[in-house]
């Protein structure tokens, strides 16, 4: 019994310590002074983190928009409200699906790659050797990746939403025969730029921060063996996905709910 309580206490302490390390890590890395060299490192990471994720975001956005239109049409047509298809597709994408699904894809595509890359650098002593050369790896390796992640996810979310709305148009208007004018005008009547589009952007900013933070920290903090890398990569995807879904509820409640 006492053993169990002790184990519980130790577990709690371990978790608290990990959170503390992660927090210190974030603060130390994010506030690194940018330099010209740093800017170029950031551009490089934008390529690996952002540009390389565009393809998967394009494809998923297109299909999600198409399936939304298909599902929405069959429901709405029952109420004779198929004119409202544009509104339904746009609102669900902009408020909810684009930030969340893009963040989940981002965690799987870019997050796991970040963890594995930094983990491999740690396992092959590249981080240590950089420290011995007198360069802070937080600044050189971690900071550009963090910033690239923060900036990339909102852009990917925008791309996701635009492609999704276009996919919804393709299915709804071109295939199912919803009137083109009402697809757009219903959308414009109901979507509010500040309340919906910008709130969706705020969500994706938060998700970008959290997912990249988890990914980079898991890579930096892992046990430097091949087993450690594979475990940390799995942890990145699991933790980041859970964090995105949990935060999504909290943010939605704050933005659209009537709490407090």
């Amino acid at each position: 019994m006492i053993d169990r309580i002790a184990a519980l206490g130790r577990g709690t302490l371990d978790v608290l310590m990990a959170i503390g390390r992660a927090g210190l890590f974030l603060v130390q890395s994010v506030f690194c002074l940018p330099s010209r060299e740093g800017f170029y490192l950031w551009v490089r990471q934008m390529h690996f983190v952002g540009v390389m994720s565009v393809a998967i975001v394009l494809v998923s956005g297109l299909f999600i928009g198409m399936v939304l239109a298909l599902q929405g049409y069959t429901i709405l047509v029952g109420f004779g409200a198929d004119e409202a298809l544009g509104q339904m597709v746009a609102l669900s994408l902009v408020r909810e699906l684009a930030p969340v699904v893009a963040a989940l894809l981002f965690a799987g595509r870019a997050g796991s790659a970040l963890t594995a890359e930094i983990g491999l650098m740690k396992a092959t002593e590249q981080l240590t050797s950089m420290e011995m050369i007198g360069v802070d790896p937080l600044r050189r390796i971690v900071a550009p990746r963090l910033w690239a992640g923060f900036v990339s996810l909102p852009i990917l979310t925008v791309i996701f939403a635009v492609v999704g709305i276009w996919g919804g148009h393709l299915v709804g208007v071109d295939w199912l025969g919803v009137y083109d004018g009402s697809y757009w005008s219903n959308m414009q009547d109901s979507v509010d730029f500040v309340g919906d589009v910008l709130n969706g952007m705020v969500k994706s900013l938060v998700f970008g921060l959290v997912v990249t933070w988890i990914a980079v920290f898991q890579g930096y903090d892992l046990v430097p063996t091949s087993e450690g890398i594979s475990r940390a990569t799995t942890r990145t995807v699991v933790y980041a996905s859970l964090a995105v879904l949990g935060l999504d509820f909290v943010l939605t409640a704050l933005m659209f709910g009537d709490f407090g």
Binding site: Y40, I155, V158, V162, M187, D189, M201
Partner: protein, 153 residues
């Protein structure tokens, strides 16, 4: 550090795509700037009760969209709702000054919007004019109350 221009170009295009996408979401999806100022004129109308009318709601005539509601506020003088609408400028000076404005509901449960019906007066409405003949929104509770009190008599 060696530079890679293909990579830089890719990142540049990526960021540009993000900005263009946001512009698209702003203009095309949320309808910001859809009525560019010179293409519309403004009318106001006072309603006793606007029900669930919201800004951005459409303004129609014979069911065809001709403008949108831009602002709703309480008129402190009469304590009724003052609704500001932007109407497509091709109708500037073509609507008679006895045009009526009614708050209607799309379908049984749909959104509320403003419907205009022209009258027969020779005088026309211009930018900034007020529509005097208005019909308030139907509020279900009031209708039921009226019905119940009529039954009781």
């Amino acid at each position: 550090m060696k530079r890679n221009s293909v990579l830089e170009l890719g990142v540049g295009l990526f960021m540009l795509a993000g900005i263009l996408g946001l512009v698209f979401l702003g203009l095309r999806v949320s309808g910001l700037g859809v009525g560019v100022p010179q293409n519309t004129f403004t009318l106001t109308a006072n309603f006793a009760n606007i029900g669930g009318l919201r800004p951005q709601a459409k303004v129609t005539m014979s069911g065809v969209r001709i403008g949108k509601v831009t602002d709703i506020e309480l008129d402190p003088k009469w304590f009724d709702a003052k609704v500001t609408m932007q109407i497509d400028s091709q109708f500037d000076g073509k609507l008679s000054d006895d045009t009526t404005a009614a708050i209607l509901t799309a379908g049984l449960l749909g959104e509320q919007y403003v419907g205009l019906t022209v009258g027969g007066s020779p005088k026309m409405l211009h930018d900034g004019d007020v529509i005097h003949d208005t019909q308030q929104a139907l509020v279900l509770e009031q209708l039921i109350q009226q019905f119940v009190s009529n039954m009781a008599k």
